[in-house]
Structure formats: structure tokens, C-alpha cells
């Protein structure tokens, strides 16, 4: 047993962990931030994508103690002025959400991309979500949503 400090979504948590716990286990089982999903446990599917110090990581591939001293953002920490972040709004409007299990990871990959590149091309968007598998949509609606979100974030009106 070991006690660590984690900063998640701006809040500092003191948690007791076992040394072999993954960051994903701490987020879900200890902090009950269950928006971070486990789809494969081996870094293939991206359902557990979170942002750690501005970079996306698979929380199933990071040991809990490695999260110490880092700024961690999970889906629970993604919010906008009117509650919904523009990325989330665009996902809803474009029908980019179906079963929803990939959605939190997709939103975080989109956020990390748009934080660094506010005007990505469609190819760059596809690269940005290349670590996230979706079995429902076929990806087109997700790419459309991220493109639309980039317009929202730049303050542009989108044609409806």
C-alpha cells in the first residue's frame, strides 16, 4: 500500500493505492470517475484516453504512481461556458454519439488536438483520433463533429 497525490480535473486527491494499480483503476475504482472506460486493457482501443500534462495517454498503460505531479483531465473535467464544451455540443449535433463507449476518449483526443491545432484539416483530425476505435459510427460523423467544434472554438458560425 502506498499513498499518492493525484490532481484530476483541477482537484487534488490523496489516495491509497496498491503498487500494481493502473491509473485507470484509481480513476474508476477509487475516485469513481467512471467516464473513463476500459475496452481492451492493452492500449489498442483508446476508450480510456485521458489528458495528462496536455498529452493524451491510455490510462490502462500508465501506472497509478506515474500520475503523481501531473495535471490530469478526464471527461468529467471537460466543460464549457454553458456546461457543455463546444466539442461535446458538436458531437451531439452531428450524431457522432451512438453506443457512447468510445465517446469520452474521442472527446479527449479531439480536445488535445484542438488545444494544439485550432484549425486542423480533415486528415489531421483523422490522425488525431487514430488511437481511438469506434465500432458504431464508421468515424465520418466524428470527423464532422470535430471539424464543427473547431469552428465553434474559433468563434465562426457554421452553416446549418
Amino acid at each position: 500500500m502506498k499513498r499518492i497525490q493525484l490532481k484530476v480535473n483541477g482537484k487534488v486527491y490523496e489516495v491509497d493505492i496498491e503498487e500494481d494499480m493502473r491509473l485507470l483503476d484509481v480513476l474508476r475504482d477509487k475516485l469513481h470517475l467512471t467516464g473513463t472506460k476500459e475496452g481492451c486493457g492493452e492500449g489498442e482501443c483508446g476508450a480510456c484516453t485521458i489528458i495528462m500534462d496536455e498529452t493524451t495517454v491510455n490510462a490502462c498503460m500508465v501506472m497509478a504512481f506515474q500520475g503523481e505531479g501531473k495535471e490530469i483531465i478526464t471527461i468529467e473535467g471537460v466543460k464549457g461556458d454553458h456546461d457543455l464544451h463546444p466539442i461535446q455540443r458538436a458531437f451531439l449535433e452531428e450524431g457522432a454519439v451512438q453506443c457512447g463507449f468510445c465517446t469520452p476518449g474521442m472527446v479527449l483526443s479531439a480536445k488535445a488536438l484542438l488545444d494544439q491545432n485550432p484549425s486542423p484539416t480533415r486528415k489531421e483530425i483523422r490522425e488525431g483520433i487514430s488511437g481511438n476505435l469506434c465500432r458504431c459510427t464508421g468515424y465520418n460523423q466524428i470527423v464532422n463533429a470535430i471539424e464543427k467544434a473547431s469552428q465553434y472554438l474559433r468563434g465562426e458560425e457554421t452553416k446549418e
Binding site: T34, L84, Q88, C99, R135
Partner: protein
């Protein structure tokens, strides 16, 4: 009538919960004092099996290990009750459930699963459905391996082939496919008074309720199934996986019990798309009119029937494709093997046959020296067409328009000119 939804852009009802991470899938459920379950699965495809759970029971944290002896009525299955909740004597495929360990932690449950001593006495298995159809093949279940034969006869195919100017034949195979929905199976069950509540992501909550009640020999109203958010299904959540295990665990221990499958266990636990072997013979006259078709379709349903009957019937019904043919003979079969079991997956048998009938169309078009688009337009279903099963299509059949649009989109005319 004013339409409020049709034609409008509507935001899905559960979209907000899903996009904010608040949607609750079964693995997201946590209750006080819950314990954990873990399934022991067969590593062999065909064997007599004996378990020794004595060492596993001694492991600290283990509450109970369920085996076939604990199941009041050890059968389930959507069409045939050919699945055992836990195998009693024999395993029929890799991944068959043998035991369910209930422990105070997931780690203790995993440790106990590894400590159960399994003695396999291997039996010759059968993995090729053609072999499995032979009389001397190893039997997967007590009766023969052919569990279903669908026959379709229209006109007189044999006679009609003699009058055809061109006939083509082919053998086609499709492979086994997994749904690979993104949310691995998970569930939580608990007691509410004397009712057992099972929370799972399922395509079939009312049928799950019935199957749990039958296996546990409890009245239907004492079982409640709550469908959580479902992380994709595509047909792969139409059969029971952990629902009966959890309900039984609650009945025996009285505690809330949770189980979460890994991706690997998910692959072992649910159905697959039926691999099919299809023999096709199709004939037409010199004018390009389809005259006769004969097909034999063999579907490998693996160790359990699941929806095999519906799937192979649908494959047979759709064997002609969307073309009008006066003389048709189709035989489709569902066959048991020791492969992973096959069941529902998007299209339910209708998606395998186009691999056959469309290749036949291309080969016929080539022989007739008619371009493949024109050949399809000459024979495709229109309003008033009669299908091989005798159905007269009376309403919207926009296939002709669809083929024309596809041809336009792919610049077919231009490509054809270049090719000739």
C-alpha cells in the same frame, strides 16, 4: 398529420449522458459490500472434464465456487436449450463455462480460478462443417451434427438448366467474424427483498429474465433484469453470457456480485458470425434473362445453435439476391462443430450470400458479353416481381434507381468505353 420527428434533426435521448461520461454501463456500477465473480472457461474444444475445486476453495477471500451441481436446471439457449450454464461432463468448445468463483476481491477470484484443477480427457473434435455432416463424424451433441435443413423449391431448376445458354458454377467461403463491440460484457446483480436484480447490457432483457428464471427454477416475477447503457452489441448480446452466473451467485450468497470480462474473455464468451460455404450454379439465356439457380449453403454454427436456424433460413431465402429467377433450388444447413458458437450478427445470414450470388452475376455477364450493370438491371426486382419464396413485391422497390445512381457515381459508362 403533423410529423414532429420524421424529417427533423433530433438529438438522441441518451446523447447528453454519453458525451459527458455520465452514462452508466454495467462496469460503472459500484454498490456497498459487493463481491466479485470470475468465470473458469474451457481451454479444450472437445473433452470430458472433471473439476477439483478443493484447493481453490481454501484461497483467502473465496466465498463460494459455483459448478454445474449448483444449477437447479442446467440449460439455456435462445432456440434450443443446448447450452449448459456450467458444463457437467463434456466441453464442446474453447471458452465453455465450467465454474464461477465468488470472492471478496477480483484478485482473489482470479487466483482461485487459476487454482481449480481441471482434468480434460480429450475426445476427437470436428472443426470443418463438411466433415461434421458425414455420418461417422464425431458428435458434438447426442444427436447428429446437422441441426437444421432449409429447403426452397420454385419451378424446376434441373430442367431449366438444360435450356440455359450459359451456366456458371462457383464455391464461395466467408469467414468467422466477431462483433468486437467496444464495451466488454459486465454485470452486477443483487437482492431486492426476495427478488434477484441483474443489471447487464443486453439486447434481450425480457428473454434474459425468462432464461434466468428457468435455470434457477424461480418464478418469473422474482427475477428483474435492468438494461444499463449498452456499449455496442450488433447481435453479440442476444445470447446469455454472465446473467445466469450472477443471478445464481446472488441466490447462493445473498451478496451483491459484480463481474467484468476482459477483452479476451469477451471474445470467448459471445457468439460469432456464421462462416458459410456456398456452392452456386446459375444459368441464363442468350438474351441475358436469368433462368435457373441452385445453391447449397452450409453454415458452421460451432458448438451451440444460438440463432442458427433463423440465420441459415435467411441465407436460404436471400440466396437469389435481389433478382427474379423462375427456377430455384436452395438447400441450406446449420451444422454443429467444435468451433466457437455462431449466432446473430448484423444481417442475420443475409450478408454472406451476396459474396456468392454477385460473383455469379459478374461471371454470367462476362460470358454473355453484357456489361454487369445492364445485366443486373435486366434481372433485378421491380414492383410486381415475385421472389423465390413466392412473395409478390407490391410496394417501393427502388433497386433499379439505386443501381443506376451507383453506375453514375462510379462513371461506369466512361470506364466501360475505356475497357472495350
Amino acid at each position: 398529420m403533423k410529423l414532429e420527428i420524421v424529417g427533423e434533426n433530433v438529438i438522441r435521448v441518451d446523447g447528453l449522458a454519453k458525451v459527458t461520461g455520465k452514462a452508466t454501463y454495467p462496469q460503472d456500477l459500484y454498490v456497498d459490500d459487493m463481491v466479485f465473480g470470475k468465470t473458469l472457461r474451457s481451454k479444450k474444444p472437445h473433452a470430458f472434464v472433471k473439476l477439483d475445486i478443493s484447493k481453490a476453495e481454501e484461497i483467502s477471500g473465496v466465498i463460494k465456487i459455483l459448478t454445474y451441481q449448483d444449477v437447479p436446471n442446467n440449460h439455456h439457449g435462445v432456440l434450443f436449450k443446448d447450452h449448459q450454464v456450467f458444463c457437467s461432463k463434456k466441453v464442446r468448445s474453447i471458452g465453455d463455462s465450467l465454474a464461477f468463483v465468488i470472492a471478496t476481491s477480483e484478485k482473489a477470484a482470479e487466483k482461485a480460478v487459476a487454482a481449480i484443477e481441471v482434468t480434460y480427457e480429450e475426445i476427437e473434435g470436428v472443426f470443418d462443417p463438411i466433415e461434421a455432416m458425414k455420418e461417422k463424424a464425431p458428435k458434438v451433441h447426442d444427436d447428429g451434427n446437422i441441426l437444421y435443413h432449409y429447403k426452397l423449391r420454385k419451378g424446376d431448376a434441373e430442367n431449366a438448366f438444360e435450356k440455359c445458354d450459359v451456366v456458371v458454377e462457383g464455391e464461395y467461403k466467408t469467414s468467422m467474424v466477431d462483433h468486437a463491440f467496444l464495451q466488454p460484457e459486465a454485470g452486477l446483480a443483487y437482492k431486492e427483498g426476495d427478488t434477484i436484480v441483474v443489471c447487464a447490457a443486453t439486447q434481450y432483457p425480457h428473454f434474459d429474465q425468462l432464461e434466468i428464471a428457468e435455470a434457477l427454477q424461480l418464478p418469473l416475477e422474482k427475477i428483474k433484469v435492468i438494461n444499463t447503457a449498452v456499449g455496442g452489441a450488433f447481435g453479440g448480446r442476444e445470447d446469455i453470457t454472465m446473467q445466469i452466473h450472477l443471478a445464481l451467485a446472488v441466490k447462493v450468497t445473498g451478496k451483491p456480485v459484480k463481474t467484468v470480462y476482459s477483452r479476451q474473455e469477451s471474445f470467448e464468451a459471445h457468439s460469432k458470425r456464421h462462416p458459410m460455404i456456398m456452392y452456386y450454379k446459375t444459368g441464363a439465356d442468350n438474351n441475358g434473362k436469368l433462368m435457373a439457380m441452385e445453391a447449397k449453403i452450409i453454415g458452421d454454427t460451432g458448438a451451440y445453435a444460438s440463432w442458427a436456424i433463423n440465420v441459415l433460413r435467411k441465407a436460404g431465402v436471400h440466396a437469389t439476391g435481389p433478382y427474379e429467377i423462375s427456377n430455384v433450388k436452395v438447400d441450406s444447413y446449420a451444422v454443429y462443430t467444435n468451433n466457437p458458437f455462431a449466432g446473430a450478427m448484423r444481417g442475420f445470414g443475409a450478408v454472406q450470400v451476396p459474396i456468392g450470388h454477385e460473383q455469379q452475376m459478374d461471371m454470367l455477364a462476362e460470358k454473355l458479353e453484357i456489361d454487369p450493370i445492364t445485366f443486373r438491371l435486366m434481372n433485378c426486382f421491380k414492383v410486381g416481381s415475385r421472389t423465390a419464396t413466392g412473395q409478390v413485391l407490391e410496394e417501393s422497390i427502388p433497386l433499379q434507381k439505386c443501381i443506376e445512381e451507383v453506375a453514375k457515381a462510379m462513371d461506369f459508362e466512361q470506364k466501360l468505353e475505356g475497357a472495350v
